[in-house]
Symmetry: none
Subunit: 215 residues, 4 copies
DNA sequence: AATGAATGAGAGTTCATTCAT
DNA sequence: TATGAATGAACTCTCATTCAT
């Protein structure tokens, strides 16, 4: 049972771990769509094109697979956040990039929203229990704090804004749009899933948030 | 004379038995916490203190009960929205009240977030299929549009802001805070569920949004 | 879920609890033959002529059903032990009756051996955890002690024999015969399952044990 | 020259690899504890510290491994029985030694009881089908018969005792004690597993059986 | 001699739902 | 209006075994 093994694929065999990776990929999609309880191991196996029991061979249980999927998703977004290099930009430019990044990541990774919603609905116990997730501290808050400070020094931003609260409100504008656009579309009778609506909302978010920062 | 009605009594009939109401109340909580698939009919019966079969007698099926719970929740929030009377206030005051209302409603009705998240995760099919929900058109967008217009006329707000987009971004700031505060607390190592954090964030949302509206 | 209900069958309906009783009866046989792990819930349902899920409805789990079966078997043997009325007989007669009872009970209740063997093989945890079994203290040891005393006073039995040890050795002679007669038959090339062999061994046990008691 | 033998090396070959022996040892313990059905191949492999597949390589199947374990255990006890040399002792001494041997063997080889119980519970089919076990005829009955005869001639023992029945009753006293001491301890509220209880019962068995033989 | 990957069959259990009263 | 009994479908997970190297 290789379940706790880190990875160690032999360099000669590119096929190594293909099934393992396929399972993880399928799990991500299935868990994002239906949550831990709603997801079907059968369905994950079918999507991954592997025998159902292989999932147990590699991951031990549905819940362990779920936790792994969650960890991978978090580690990916962390990695992207680290690549932003906002320090090289002017404060306003940096802040706009940050806001845009929040939006674009969600636009491209619908899985993330599904996984997070289910985590929160169930007490966030897996996030809380995963050392991997807790320890990979988000660099984002530091980035925001530094950028805010630079903007304040340049008299571009107001004082007194808490970086965590700013992050939450900015992320929330984007998150809610993607997370709830189906009910919103239904209720407002306006399709928020089509490309132009998304682009337009992106502009709104950046403008609105940047305006909210002005002194 | 509705007295001869064999089955399907209207869910809002105040004459209806306590059992019926207890079931609905229990269903709301259970569905909000676990979604349609995750909720257990047994659990709803237990919470309501009734026999499981009674749920089928009154509501026909788990899914119909879910739809009813969803309709009731929407109808409640609509009713509250109608009671806001923003037309009587000055534009800035009215807008601040609106933003605060968004926040406060979610703070007091955690069920709403649970139900909406599950609806969206599953294609919002019940919202789409419910005439009751679609037809009770939200008065909110009209309210926002009118308030925006009044504020622009008074040179308090910028031009060019779309009311739907404004609603989404403002609602999103609050929604995301409540919906995701468990994972956020874990990740930022900062308890966002305690009273002061909530109050502080409420101030931030109102300030930030109002600032974003300035010309 | 009636699982913890005592019984309370309505006096008018003799069919009441028929399924429940049938399940228990089938379980006894199945568990005795194959143990807790080896027994098949499907098989119990088939033997009882009921739907498999009814077993869960009534007994909650395979293990709870097992424990119940064990308790019923113990309570039956206790009840028989209580009916022995050895106090009315002369010491030698009483002791011989006791030895014979040990033998005859096992001869007629092969389930008992199967259940006990599996219990012992798995640490006797269910016996240990069952208040019902522990509390229904066996009257046997008391009976043996009193009979021994009476026999010693009448100079029929030796002194210094511990009643528990006497019980174990007497019960063991019978138990081992029934429990192991298949391997014994194979090894000694002598069929210990046929009637005459059983009768002959019964005589041997009573004689041998009574002789062992003589002063 | 067995060197070219492709598979199926004889299980008793001292030249055989340590892995092979380790598997057998682990199997013995596992089968004794859980029976054929309850034993886990995975667990045997883990206990033996070998890859699971190696078990199949060496023994073909779980059941074949079980049969082999059974044969080894029987062959060991036979070998010990042959080493008793009762013919050299006086009849009473010899008989007491025999009874003590029954007891001591079980005290030291708890596996034996587990294996035998499971065999008997499942029809003793493996004992019946194993030529190795059937053919290695037990020398014990012969020993008992000869010792009995010598004792009768010396007027130490009663006439009319069947050697097989004597063996069964004497073995049964010890077997039942070890086999059922967990439930017995629970029921009598007296720990029969601790050293003094074992010693005391050993004395009882020898005394009681010897007394039972007196004319 | 030894191993990691993979699989099919089947187990216990859950659950929404229906039956019968 | 209310309930206990009963059921079929499905789900997670286990396990002996085989494949391929």
């Amino acid at each position: 049972m290789p379940s706790r093994r880190a990875a160690a694929p032999s360099p000669n065999d590119p096929e190594q771990g293909a099934a393992r990776a396929a399972i993880l990929e399928a799990a991500r999609a299935e868990f994002a769509a239906k949550g831990l309880a709603g997801a079907r191991v059968n369905e994950i196996a079918a999507r991954a094109g592997v025998n159902k029991q292989l999932i147990y061979y590699y991951y031990g249980s549905k819940e362990d697979l779920y936790r792994t999927a969650l960890e991978v998703v978090y580690s990916e977004i962390r990695s992207l956040e680290r690549d932003l290099h906002l320090g090289d930009m002017a404060p306003a430019e940096a802040m706009a990039a940050l806001i845009g990044f929040s939006f674009d990541y969600l636009a491209r990774h619908p899985d993330f929203i599904g996984l997070l919603n289910h985590e929160n609905a169930h007490g966030a116990v897996h996030v809380r229990d995963s050392r991997a997730i807790r320890e990979t501290n988000s660099p984002l808050i530091e980035l925001i704090a530094r950028t805010l400070k630079r903007g304040i020094a340049a008299r571009l931003f107001r004082k007194g804004i808490d970086p965590v609260e700013l992050y939450v409100s900015v992320a929330g504008m984007s998150y809610f749009f993607f997370s709830n656009r189906l009910t919103l579309s239904s209720i407002f009778g306006r399709d928020l899933t089509e490309g132009r609506a998304v682009e337009s909302y992106r502009r709104h978010v950046v403008e609105f948030a940047m305006a909210g920062l002005r002194p």
